[in-house]
Amino acid sequence: MEILSRFRKCTLTTNTIERIDRTLEFFSFLRFYSLRRPALVLPLVPVLRDTQVDTIEYWQAVELAAFAAADVSNYSLFNWCCDKIKKRFGDNWRLNRLVGLFHEIRLDYKAAAAVYERSLAKHPSCPELYKRQVAILKSLNAYEQAAVVLCDYLKTFMVDEESWCELVYIYLHLRKYEEAAFAASELIILNPSNWFYFLLFAEIHYNIGSYESLVTARKYCCYVCKIQRSCPRVLYDLLLVCKALATFSQASKNMNERLYLFASKHLRQLYKNSCFLFAVEELVACSSSKKFKH
């Protein structure tokens, strides 16, 4: 709810200068965390319209307003933002991205692709334009092609975490789990302090479903459990992996059972004050009675 309290701060003040500052700060917050909230951005656009500031934060806020307008197909606001940016900065790749986006929201993907290609010819080092090309392919349901374009892009921009993440999700959509696992491993190498990437890697291996993959999934789940025990997803993943491994005769029953009981115990602790505890108890009990009969 922090986002709402920040939004309210922008609307409650009557002092003009303070309102401008808070609005620009709020827009910077949204940009920093890549949050897409047109319902919160659009009510603050009048503040930008009435302001004559020439700071980088202001122009970034106008650009964000353009994206919010695109999200709700508000063409008049979108055109206002683009015109304002063009008057100030002239023709540049960021404006071209907005022009391309305008074609995309009108579902004219050919025109959008042409804009991006022309812009890339002048500015070949702009990652955002390549990403828009991938977005167009996804919109056209051409996920295989989107994966190819993204892989080509990543050969040049190989430290772009966001793109590796997108590649994981594209491969998951295509049910290409081995490729998704490779992309997830690249994410781990790029940012080993992000526990979510380890969990994603574990879940992909769970989906592969072979004995070796499930053992790998279990190892990674255990590692994430060590650092993030208060997240139900981690514990549920460990439960599922142990349950799946129990169907293999070569799996170590003792370790599997111990890990299953570990996950069950921590799930019960997590939900001990919740009215939802009964459902978790039954989920855990039902699964264990089937799999761990002595």
């Binding site: 349901n141 998951l172 959509h173 989906n207 549920y236 439960l239």
Partner: protein, 209 residues
């Protein structure tokens, strides 16, 4: 197959649309709790949707939390006794995604855990417009049976969504606080304090009658 009539309770329809609108740029799915009643001659089946449990919005169908969510939904339905897990819904991330073959995997997953899955609702994204009062109902309904292809239900056989419910839904969708406080099972799995059953929204929807 007998003719089918679908009746919506307010909180189920409101939560369904909130799930679509909150994660407008991603695919979402969930399940319905409700009852199925047959007429004496077995020629009419009335499906009453009492509740909507929003499940996932991240990397469907490879999301393991979907499996857990469906099992927990089944347990919740059993605990309530008077409802069962009767169907599921899906909204694709693309503008033109509204075909049943895109959600076959969801019906299979739900059917693995319950025999009563009879209803599949898919969002017709082209009809999800800002003014929901003037738009047609943005949903396509399919009757599902194991081993058979999903059969689309004609809208004149369904209970029309009354204007009062559309107006009520619009109020919820426009309320920023309520939208921010709405969560699905994926959100709950990352932050356990998020109530994926959205009980506060259910009680609000009853209060605004």
């Amino acid at each position: 197959m007998s003719d089918v009539m679908v009746v919506w309770k307010d909180e189920a329809y409101i939560q369904l649309l909130m799930h679509f609108y909150k994660y407008a740029t991603e695919s979402v799915c969930g399940v319905f709790l409700g009852t199925t009643e047959y007429s004496e001659s077995q020629s009419l089946c009335t499906i009453t949707v009492y509740d909507c449990l929003p499940l996932c919005h991240i990397s469907l169908p490879s999301n393991p939390m979907l499996q857990v969510g469906i099992q927990l939904s089944q347990i919740i339905a059993k605990e309530k006794k008077w409802v069962a897990l009767i169907g599921c819904y899906f909204a694709g991330e693309r503008f033109d995604a509204s075909e049943p073959n895109q959600s076959d995997w969801l019906v299979d997953r739900v059917s693995q855990h319950c025999d009563n899955c009879k209803l599949l609702v898919i969002s017709d994204n082209r009809k999800l417009v800002p003014d929901i009062r003037t738009s047609q109902v943005p949903l396509r309904f399919f009757q599902v049976s194991s081993g058979e292809m999903a059969k689309e239900l004609e809208t004149d056989k369904l209970d029309i969504i009354p204007m009062s419910l559309l107006e009520k839904t619009e109020k919820f969708l426009l309320d920023k606080e309520i939208m921010e406080s709405f969560h699905d099972f994926d959100d709950h799995c990352m932050e356990p304090s998020f109530d994926w059953l959205n009980r506060h929204i259910k009680s609000l929807s009853l209060d605004t009658d």
